[in-house]
């Protein structure tokens, strides 16, 4: 059994300046698994997902303790180059961020160029990446148009395709559908379900139906009364939504607070 893309956190604590915003988060993300992170606004989901590929440390006041293990190796170990971490663990942001000075094609290939890798079969890579993000048919005739000529939903799928071109082991998505229409959302969800055959996916979402549609496991984050955010419940999606152990989870997934 391959356990190639196994990601795991151990006792992650996060501070911004002196403020403690995440406490003792220990989660396992399995290969070929989609894990959803849910919870009310401000509980630290984005902060947590950014610790998983070392984007967190780019914030000047950031602090962190604990471990993030990719296949058993701590990505925060001293010898590890954050650049390599980010190559293996791709990220899609809440707001589509295609590079405005590049064409659609150049955007797809930008990851390879930025990380200094050789582009062997550019055309083929562009096609497969766009196909995996299910937008090849829409844009195959406009590859040399500026990326900003796409609609918001298309831009987001372009960003997904851009991450996929890097062939990451893990894909992190922070509310990838929050700015999209139902059609684009559905296509991205289908994409996620196809992608999980080959990688580990972590997705932050505010949409309970979406979590149930795509996620195998779900972690519920909560920060009460200004305390640091914590994982209240982490289980299979079915258990979290149908048989929550914690009352607060029950209330949240049934839309009664948060």
């Amino acid at each position: 059994m391959s356990n190639l893309n196994h990601l795991e956190t151990k006792d992650i604590n996060v501070w911004f300046g002196e403020r403690h915003v995440l406490r003792d988060v220990s989660l396992q993300f399995q290969n070929n698994h989609v894990t959803a992170l849910i919870g009310p606004s401000g509980c630290g989901k984005s902060t947590f997902i950014r610790t998983l590929n070392r984007m967190h440390e780019l914030i000047p006041s950031a602090g962190l303790s604990g471990q993030v293990l990719l296949n058993g190796e701590d990505i925060y170990a001293q010898a590890v180059d954050p650049v390599n971490v980010r190559i293996n663990i791709g990220m899609v942001f809440q707001k589509p961020n295609p590079f405005p000075t590049m064409t659609i094609r150049e955007n797809i290939l930008s990851g390879l160029k930025l990380s200094g890798r050789k582009i062997e079969d550019g055309d083929g890579l562009v096609e497969t990446s766009l196909q995996r993000a299910s937008m090849w048919n829409e844009v195959k005739d406009r590859l040399s148009e500026p990326a900003l000529s796409l609609s918001g939903g298309q831009q987001q799928r372009l960003c997904i395709a851009r991450s996929l071109a890097m062939d990451p082991n893990v894909l992190l998505m922070d509310e990838p559908c929050s700015a999209l229409d139902p059609g684009s959302t559905r296509r991205i969800e289908e994409t996620i379900l196809e992608l999980k055959e080959n990688m580990t996916i972590v997705i932050v979402t505010h949409n309970m139906q979406q979590a149930q549609r795509v996620a195998d496991s779900t972690a519920f984050f909560l920060s009460e009364n200004g305390n640091p955010g914590e994982v209240v419940e982490f289980d299979t999606t079915e258990n979290v939504f149908m048989r929550p152990k914690d009352d607060r989870t029950n209330e949240y997934v049934n839309g009664r607070f948060g």
Binding site: V83, G90, K95, F99, P100, T103, S110, L114, S144
Partner: protein
């Protein structure tokens, strides 16, 4: 591919531009009546133009603007009307000033302009020599060389400073920014004096083109780096983060994403920097003297530039001298114009200029 349902755009496809009849009536009245009263008063009462403009035209125009706003949109339109008059009045005023400066340079300078004015130098020319010989060729050459050297040295320095200020979290940024601001307030003659006393009076160098270039660096640097800093700051952090999240080292994220996104702002910064120094006179008189000969070597001998050429002939003051000065001013103006247009064209963002279609 398929039959298109698209239709050509009809002529009047901008319904928001159709004004109501009240608005149209009020705007006609407001644009014509005050102007008519003003012309009548100015000609009839033999008033000074500027005085009449400010004491008669502006108040009447303001009153009419307020009335037009009220008539068209009710009370909430009054402020709109007033603001419209103020902005139109002052922008027209500035525009007219600018146009008249440019016009006087063109009309006065055109007489001196001729092919030989562009390439001949100032040898054997006195204040009263006729315009049929002599020119500012040596000054044009000197301006290009001196400005060019300064630009080549300063642009990387200034952009590096801007990058330091925007991309790093270093603690000394505040100090650097303050120093830069102080430098921006440095009078140019002081920059010239500095080079003159430190490097020329001390005997280390004579008065040559490079010294002039050096004295212009502290004038150009703050202009470029402050504008470049501003345009780098405007690049959304999402783009930079997007690049870093793809596994880019910071320097590549900067060169491939941040810098291209700020390109047109940085080109503007460089242009403003060139514009800042190209008209400088005082430091050049101190460091490169007012030469009459053509000299393309910035390391030996004095070098003329357009501003010092103008200064020289204004100083002589004869009729032909003044014409030469105007001519050189016109050349300078054309020079700057070409530079600006060229840089704008070069910096226009063309995404995907090299189409690379795939065969299906």
């Amino acid at each position: 591919m398929t039959d298109t349902l698209a239709q050509p755009r009809p002529k009047n496809a901008a319904p928001w531009e159709k004004l109501g009849s009240r608005v149209r009536f009020a705007s006609w009245i407001t644009s014509l009546v005050p102007a008519a009263i003003f012309v009548a008063a100015w000609l009839g009462l033999q008033l000074d133009f500027m005085a009449a403009l400010l004491t008669i035209f502006l108040p009447i125009q303001l009153a009419f603007g307020a009335w037009a706003g009220f008539y068209s949109y009710g009370r909430k339109g009054v402020n709109d009307g007033l603001l419209m008059v103020v902005t139109f009045f002052f922008s027209t005023f500035v525009l007219v000033l600018l146009a008249s400066v440019i016009w006087s340079v063109i009309s006065e300078g055109a007489a001196a302009l001729s092919p030989h004015f562009i390439y001949q130098n100032n040898r054997y020319i006195t204040g009263t020599t006729g315009l049929e010989i002599g020119g500012a060729g040596h000054a044009i050459l000197g301006s290009v060389i001196i400005t060019g050297i300064t630009t080549v040295i300063t642009v990387p320095l200034a952009i590096a400073t801007a990058v330091y200020l925007t991309e790093t979290r270093d603690g000394a940024r505040g100090v650097v920014r303050t120093l830069l601001q102080a430098l921006a307030g440095l009078p140019s003659v002081v920059a010239g004096l500095f080079i003159y006393s430190m490097l020329i009076v001390s005997g280390w160098s004579s008065q040559v083109g490079v010294m002039a270039s050096l004295s212009l660096i502290p004038l150009m640097l703050p202009t470029i780096s402050r504008v470049a800093e501003e345009s780098l700051r405007l690049v959304p952090s999402e783009l930079r983060n997007g690049a870093l999240a793809l596994g880019a080292p910071s320097y590549k994220a900067f060169f491939m994403v941040t810098l291209p996104a700020a390109k047109s702002g940085i080109v503007t910064a460089v242009l403003l920097g060139v514009a800042r120094i190209i008209g400088e006179t005082a430091p050049l008189i101190l460091t490169a003297v007012i030469a009459n000969e053509t000299n393309a070597n910035p390391l030996a001998g004095g070098m003329a530039t357009l501003p010092t050429y103008i200064y020289n002939f204004l100083y002589l003051g004869d009729a032909t001298s003044l014409q030469r000065a105007w001519g050189a001013a016109l050349v300078l103006l054309i020079f700057v114009g070409i530079l600006f247009v060229g840089a704008r064209v070069a910096s226009a963002t063309r995404v995907g200029s090299k189409p690379k279609r795939r065969k299906k």
